[in-house]
């Protein structure tokens, strides 16, 4: 039983790094763009997090969903540890459609 629990937690921890957080559901642009980079700034707003990623100057918005604590944790870890995140964004509204840790080196 203990061995099975160990395998389960190991599997879950592997899965956590690949978790994709869903943000804005509606897209206004014809095409989304993918941003990759370390999180440099986070502005904690009332209904969203405004995030500066990599070489991109804009603050991109991620809504405060039910997973807001996990999202904030991911953002802060990226800022602190320097790993990259990957965000699919709408270039017209600056809203983030999906957000995840970028595991590619």
């Amino acid at each position: 039983m203990k061995f099975l629990m160990f395998l389960l937690s190991f599997g879950l921890s592997l899965n956590a790094s690949a978790q994709v957080y869903a943000g804005e559901k509606k897209m206004k642009a014809k095409q989304s763009i993918e941003l990759k980079g370390t999180v440099h700034q986070i502005i904690d707003g009332e209904s969203d997090y405004k995030i500066a990623i990599g070489i991109h100057a804009a603050f991109y918005s991620f809504p405060k969903t039910e997973e807001k604590e996990e999202v904030l944790n991911l953002l802060k870890q990226s800022q602190k540890e320097g790993f990259k995140v990957k965000a699919s964004v709408d270039p017209l509204t600056l809203k983030i459609l999906t957000l995840q840790r970028d595991d590619k080196k």
Binding site: I33, H40, I43, G54, I55, A57, A58, F59, P91, L92
Partner: protein
Amino acid sequence: MIRFLLVFLFALAGTQVLPNGFGNKRGVVDVTVLSEAKAQRLFDTFVSHKEIPFNYPLDGCFARATAMARIAEDEKIEMGKIFAEGVLRTKTNIKELPEVMWSYHVAPTLWVQKEGKPVLMVFDPSMFDKPVTVAEWTDAMKLPGTPAAVVSEVYYGSRYQLGPRKAEDTKNSWQRPDLEITEETLHVYRNADLVGFLRSLQGQQLQKPGQSQQQSKKAGTR
């Protein structure tokens, strides 16, 4: 020997240095000195390049700055880059988008002879219609609002730097991946039709219930 010295002095007179905020062996970047007339002509040349989306101020400054520096380089003009970081808020020249907010901003920079002295000027057609001083450039990014705008630091780099120094190492030549990202970014933002999108939003906001968009356009609204 005299001829060599003259060439050397002439070359020296044509450039001035900037402190390199990214760090390199010399600690400085050589940047060309231009006359005011040549500087304005260079600025106008940048504006004439329609492949650079100056009307998409939301993001992509790194790509615009790189594109401009390469245009200048083709004319044997060595530009530097100026970076400002913080929470930057500025007006735009797009009626439907009065202001934008950035975590950093970058533009190419040159020395310009003004009344016999070289003055560092910033070339930023996304914000101005002529080269401006560093103070004018940074002051324009302190528009009041929430969160409060703050320029936390300003520094310089060579034309080869793409993004802010927290995002990259010192570069002494053009890097192929950077040029590829630049081209891709210019392409995406060129095709984004931001103004068209903003006008369509305005049209939706002005539309009365039960009225079609065409009817509200006829009524003189956008």
